[in-house]
């Protein structure tokens, strides 16, 4: 782990919601540049909490967050992190609030200080890249669930992040959108962390899979070794599936 290639590093993070039991307990985690990681666990296990802590949306009770080698402490540090790390919310409806798709995608670049013309150009390019050409004047609120998800992804990618955090990106989506997202993620040259309760999806998009157990991150194994992994859990949280990875994409 070369110092310079580390994007995010969480050191001894503790977190609990007001009045609740600890969600994260002495959690340590590292995302290196270009690494594609999955985190599995059922709802309420603290996966989303971890992502929110990285983005500065939640404040850990103790521990250090480092991004790009520097400790992240002040509000300004987090502003900087947010410019460099893209975050895809679980619910696309939480992420989109402009009347049209174009405005929604141009919102980030405008905040980064781009001119309206530039922002528009970047937005159009991103749409094209995601095969969403022709969507620019569509009313965001009226898109289907799958379309909203893709547009939400576009609002993140347009900011040219150095890494992505994706929170349950496929819940309830139709198979077409699912496959589009998987293809897209596999073609990205930046690293990402995907949090999900769907093993299948993680296996198709990430290399290393972790799980959150008792507030800590545990390495579960290489995603291509899925099968052996499942057996360890047979009677417990996860169930047993046979999958031929190559047949699915």
């Amino acid at each position: 782990m070369g110092e310079n290639s580390v994007i995010i590093q969480l050191e001894n993070i503790d977190f609990s919601y007001a009045g609740g039991k600890p969600v994260l307990d002495d959690l340590c985690f590292t995302l290196e540049e270009g690494a594609k990681l999955g985190i599995i666990g059922h709802n309420g296990s603290g996966k989303t909490t971890m992502l929110h802590i990285i983005m500065g949306l939640l404040k850990p009770s103790s521990g250090t967050i480092r991004a790009f080698g520097k400790p992240i402490e002040t509000k300004k540090d987090f502003l900087d992190v947010r410019r460099k790390i893209g975050f895809l919310f679980q619910d696309a409806d939480d992420q989109l609030f402009c009347p049209t798709v174009l405005e929604d995608i141009a919102f980030g670049p405008l905040n980064l200080g781009k001119s309206p013309t530039e922002a528009r150009k970047m937005a159009m390019e991103t749409l094209e890249r995601l095969n969403l050409k022709g969507f620019e004047e569509r009313v965001t609120h009226k898109l289907s669930g799958g379309e909203k998800k893709l547009v939400a992804l576009a609002t993140v990618l347009v900011m040219e992040p150095k890494a992505l955090l994706l929170d349950e990106p496929t819940t309830g989506l139709d198979e077409d959108t699912n496959i589009r997202i998987i293809t897209l993620l596999n073609s990205l040259d930046i690293g990402y962390i995907i949090v999900s309760h769907e093993y299948d999806f993680l296996a198709r998009t990430t290399r290393d899979i972790y799980s959150v157990q008792n507030g800590q991150i545990v390495y579960d194994g290489d995603s291509s070794a899925l099968h052996s992994h499942y057996h360890r859990h047979l009677m417990g949280k996860f169930r047993h599936r046979h999958e031929t990875l190559s047949s699915q994409i």
């Binding site: 009347p99 049209t100 009313v139 965001t140 609120h141």
Partner: protein, 214 residues
């Protein structure tokens, strides 16, 4: 935009209550039971939106939004604003019991007034709709400030200068409310035009509208 307890005279308080009761009665008549949930939940959104602090120069102001609530709810603005003010009093102790009538009038009367003035224009072409929405947002705040001034002046003639100051202090808020109302209307026109008045009439001949009368 509200007046605290203990400032206004008895006659002003009583007139406020009587007028607000009349406005609320009209508003409630137009809201049958089936539309109560809709008015209530829009009112909750209005309540939350009016807590937003918007930066202006080195300071910030919170939004009033009675213009947009007038556009969306028409006479329904009276009960909805009455209820929002009651909740504000219960939760934050802003306003109060004796001033509830006056404060409802301060916000709701301009809302309904601007609804009649601009309601039919916001569904028209953008170069009419946006300025109309701006005027609606700005004027509903302006009229509200004037109402505050009137309530103060009717209480005590010597409050006239205070009243001028109140109106002047609201000028920057007026502009911001105008801008926000204009963009908000632009948003609703694209996303959910049926929330705005006059939208369905969009196709009719626009210039002859006024002569047609009600």
């Amino acid at each position: 935009m509200h007046i605290s307890e203990g400032i206004l005279s008895g006659p002003v308080l009583i007139s406020g209550i009587a007028l607000a009761a009349a406005g609320t009665a009209i508003g409630l008549k137009k809201l049958d039971y089936d539309r109560i949930p809709r008015a209530a939940i829009l009112s909750a959104a209005f309540f939350v939106a009016s807590l937003i602090h918007v930066p202006i120069g080195p300071s910030s102001v919170h939004l009033i939004l009675n213009g947009i609530i007038g556009l969306i709810l028409g006479w329904g603005a009276f009960p909805v604003i009455l209820v929002a003010l009651t909740l504000q009093a219960m939760l934050f102790q802003f306003g109060g019991i004796t001033t509830l009538g006056v404060n409802t009038m301060i916000m709701a009367l301009p809302a309904v007034f601007c609804y009649y003035l601009f309601g039919r224009l916001v569904g028209k072409r953008p170069h009419i709709a946006m300025p109309a929405a701006f005027a609606c947002g700005a004027l509903s705040v302006f009229f509200g400030a004037v109402m505050v001034g009137l309530a103060l002046t009717f209480t005590e003639e010597n409050f006239l200068k205070v009243s001028y100051l109140v109106v002047i202090a609201h000028l920057p808020v007026m502009i911001i409310e105008g801008i926000i109302t204009a963009f908000c209307v632009a948003f609703l026109r694209k996303v959910q035009p049926d929330m705005l008045p006059g939208y369905s009439k969009q196709t009719s001949f626009t210039p002859s509208k006024e002569t047609a009368g009600d």
